[in-house]
């Protein structure tokens, strides 16, 4: 069991009922694992919500969390998509202070990052950016010198590539998934 920590991304389908988030979060809390990000929302199926949970944990811990999450009655399916080719995105709204001489430069930067300006006032602007955590973090770093007044970030959401729906019937082993991931990245 490796003790090396890695960001694991879990995708869960859960029943849309009171208390389910508490049950899920409690599994992490009990083991003193920190949840780095959490996103919950409706799915294409009525009464079913989808959660994306990111946590920095060891491989052994990730396996146990996955197995224990599946034991929760309200959890319909769970998958650790860390090693599955997937698209992961989050969204941030960043309010930046506007000084007279900085507006032009700010708009250029926001353009380069393919972010959008969703509000422009005399003293501040709000930029909306969607992307990977890395990309958002990069924009934040560039904007910081201009004076970030306020920022809000959604948790990360993730979806595996291709037509395969998330199920627990994945017969591929973790090792072959790592290989596939390596192959898809090399293309």
């Amino acid at each position: 069991m490796s003790e090396q920590l890695r960001q694991h991304t879990f995708v869960l389908y859960v029943e849309d009922q009171p208390g389910v988030l508490n049950r899920v979060a409690s599994l992490f809390r009990r083991r003193a694992y920190n949840i780095e990000s959490l996103a919950v929302g409706h799915t294409e199926r009525p009464g079913v919500s989808r959660m994306t949970i990111v946590s920095l944990i060891s491989e052994g811990a990730a396996q146990r969390v996955e197995a224990n999450l599946y034991k929760l009655v309200n959890v319909l399916s769970v998958e650790d998509v860390t090693f599955i080719p997937n698209i992961a995105r989050s969204l941030a709204l960043i309010k930046v202070q506007l000084l007279e001489d900085s507006r032009r430069e700010l708009l250029e930067i926001i353009g380069v990052f393919r972010a959008r300006v969703v509000d422009l006032g005399p003293d501040s602007l709000i930029s909306e950016i969607t992307g990977t955590e890395d990309k958002i973090q990069a924009l934040v770093e560039v904007l910081r010198p201009f004076g970030i007044l306020e920022m809000v970030r959604t948790g990360q959401v993730a979806m595996s590539r291709g037509v395969k729906r998330l199920t627990n019937e994945d017969s591929r082993t973790r090792e072959t998934l790592v290989l596939e991931q390596a192959a898809s990245q090399s293309v």
């Binding site: 029943e15 208390g19 197995a67 009655v73 319909l76 627990n168």
Partner: protein, 569 residues
């Protein structure tokens, strides 16, 4: 048919074939208690709600059926917490029904309001907050299914007072549990079976680690056939006791912290461990880094969360133990492993010499002697319910169980106070069986108020108190690991025989070995409950012992000084 929520509770319990519930009334559960009188479910009035949960647990463990406990909101519900956690750790199917304040009052700090679904979230398989009458039947039906299904465990159903008072159409069939999801389908692939069989058939020194899962899945015949066919010795966990007959030549006895030296030695020397429905608890593995390091490991387990949790296994086979063994058995080769069995047998010799049961009677009353005599006098046929501590380990060592569900004990949580109430539940499950409580003077005092329940319900349980005037197991740790500083372990107790007398139960006190058998016989002859207070040696310790976290074969053996000291006297 229009019924109140309270009536629906009992309609459901009747249809779920619940014969009795263990409970205690109170404000928020009053409607249910009022409706109860119309139904054919026996109610056992306990003296503390913790007792109700242990009784439901004891009933479940003795019968294999779901036990039911009932309590009011607030303190009634919180008193159940220890019993629920006990059932969770030992995979015991119980359903706890609690009253809750009216749904409009929830969250207002109303009188006797507590968030019991929040409190019990990590110690239940699942729980429900039911706020409408029409949710009661589906919740209860599903609760029973979840409690008994897969790896069993406790489920709590918290029902608000307005849900009990509300009326709705009662439709039993419509309340059938929905299939929320596929139950975990774990295909054991042919290559996994063949890997397991290769290991099994080529092993030279295999050991079966027999756990509670054998009893829960009813795989006793399969395990017996497996062991005999493959000439494989069987070591038992504490909760696995009874899963394999103690008198069988292949039965090694209990493993782990207080297992006999030869058992742990065999595990450490094995080249293959077959873990059948057990979970590699720290009490059976000792130091994980040195645990059976030469052995390949096959783990057959219904709960995928147990795989690779403590010990890395080479071949995990996830599923119901009985079904998996039925798949494996036809291809398990008949082998004669006499060299391995002889090797284990030869390592027994040394231990047997040190064994306390061979000590002469010199006036010192050993708990081990008491338990061995109890085993002998009851023909090994009693259902024994123990508390937690030294007497529990001596029971496991000296009472030899041939059949499943005849030792009922709190293993995982180690709950003192478990024995007496659990025995009451066990007696309801097995009315024809001889049921014995073995408890220490400490644990017995935690729940001895249930003696009143014994009398009120006319429960014939026999009680053996192993009274050494100490919280014995803690004292032992203080002696071994804290330089003998007996911090808060000397224990003053009442005269237990007089306590029994006050409840109208015959009470006996035994101080010498020659009185043990006659008093046990007298208690057995008495029809009705009886209590014996065995005044045993104060500072006897349980041997052998693997200190917590030590290597499994680094045991503290029965000291030879003990033999010398007692033979001098």
């Amino acid at each position: 048919m229009i019924k109140t929520g309270a009536e629906i509770i009992w309609e459901c319990l009747e249809r779920l074939e619940v014969e009795q519930v263990f409970g205690y009334p109170g404000g928020a559960i009053l409607p249910a208690y009022d409706a109860m009188t119309k139904y054919n479910v026996h109610h056992v009035l306990v003296r503390h709600e913790q007792g109700a949960t242990h009784m439901a647990d004891g009933y479940a463990r003795a019968s294999g059926k779901v036990g039911v406990a009932l309590a009011t909101s607030g303190p009634g519900a919180t008193n159940m917490v220890t019993g629920i956690a006990t059932a969770m750790m030992d995979s015991s199917p119980i359903v706890c029904i609690t009253g809750q304040v009216g749904s409009k009052l929830i969250g207002s700090d109303a009188f006797q309001e507590t968030d019991i679904t929040g409190i019990t979230l990590p110690i239940t398989k699942h729980n429900y907050l039911v706020t409408r009458a029409d949710e009661i039947a589906p919740s209860l039906r599903e609760a029973f299914q979840i409690a008994a299904g897969g790896r069993p465990g406790p489920v709590l159903v918290d029902i608000t007072k307005d849900a009990q008072n509300g009326k709705c159409e009662f439709d039993w069939n419509a309340a059938a549990p929905k299939t929320r999801r596929r139950e975990p389908v774990h295909f054991i692939e042919p290559h996994e079976l063949s890997e397991a069989l290769d290991l099994i058939n080529s092993a030279r020194r295999p050991v079966i680690l027999a756990g509670h899962g054998i009893i829960l899945s009813g795989a006793l015949a399969e395990v017996l056939e497996f062991a005999e066919r493959a000439s494989t010795p069987v070591a038992l966990t504490l909760l696995g006791i009874g899963a394999f007959p103690a008198s069988h030549p292949l039965c090694l006895g209990m493993m782990g912290m207080h297992g006999e030296a030869w058992v742990n030695k065999a595990i450490q020397e094995a080249d293959l461990l077959l873990a059948f429905g057990m979970r590699f608890d720290d009490r059976v593995t000792g130091n994980l880094k040195t645990y059976a390091s030469a052995a390949k490991k096959i783990h057959i387990e219904i709960d995928p969360a147990e795989i690779n949790k403590n010990v890395h296994v080479d071949v995990p086979l996830i599923g119901d133990l009985r079904e998996v063994l039925q798949h494996l058995l036809p291809d398990v080769e008949r082998k004669n492993r006499s060299a391995w069995l002889d090797q284990i047998e030869s390592s027994k010799q040394d231990s047997a010499v040190r064994d306390i049961q061979n000590l002469p009677d010199n006036g010192h009353l050993y708990a081990a002697h008491v338990i061995q005599d109890l085993w002998h006098q009851t023909g090994g046929n009693a259902v024994v319910v123990t508390d937690v501590g030294q007497h529990q380990m001596w029971e496991a060592q000296y009472y030899h169980h041939e059949k499943p569900r005849t030792l009922i004990t709190s293993g995982g949580l180690g709950t003192m106070g478990f024995a007496l109430p659990a025995a009451i539940g066990a007696k309801f499950a097995r009315p024809d069986a001889e049921v014995w409580v073995i408890a220490g003077d400490g644990g017995f005092q935690m729940t001895m108020s249930e003696l009143a329940t014994v009398v009120q319900e006319k429960i014939e349980v026999k009680i053996a108190i192993i009274n050494n005037g100490f919280l014995g197991m803690v004292r032992q740790w203080q002696e071994f690991f804290y330089d003998g500083r007996y911090s808060s372990t000397p224990l003053l107790s009442p005269d237990f025989a007089k306590i029994a007398d006050a409840f109208g139960i015959p009470g006996y006190t035994v101080r010498t070995r020659n009185n043990v058998v006659p008093t046990i016989d007298a208690a057995r002859r008495h029809s009705g409950p009886a209590l014996i207070n065995f005044q045993v040696g104060q500072e006897d310790s349980v041997f052998p012992m693997v200190p917590a976290g030590a290597d499994l074969d680094a045991m503290i053996r029965r000291p030879s000084v003990l033999v010398e000291r007692t033979s001098d006297v």
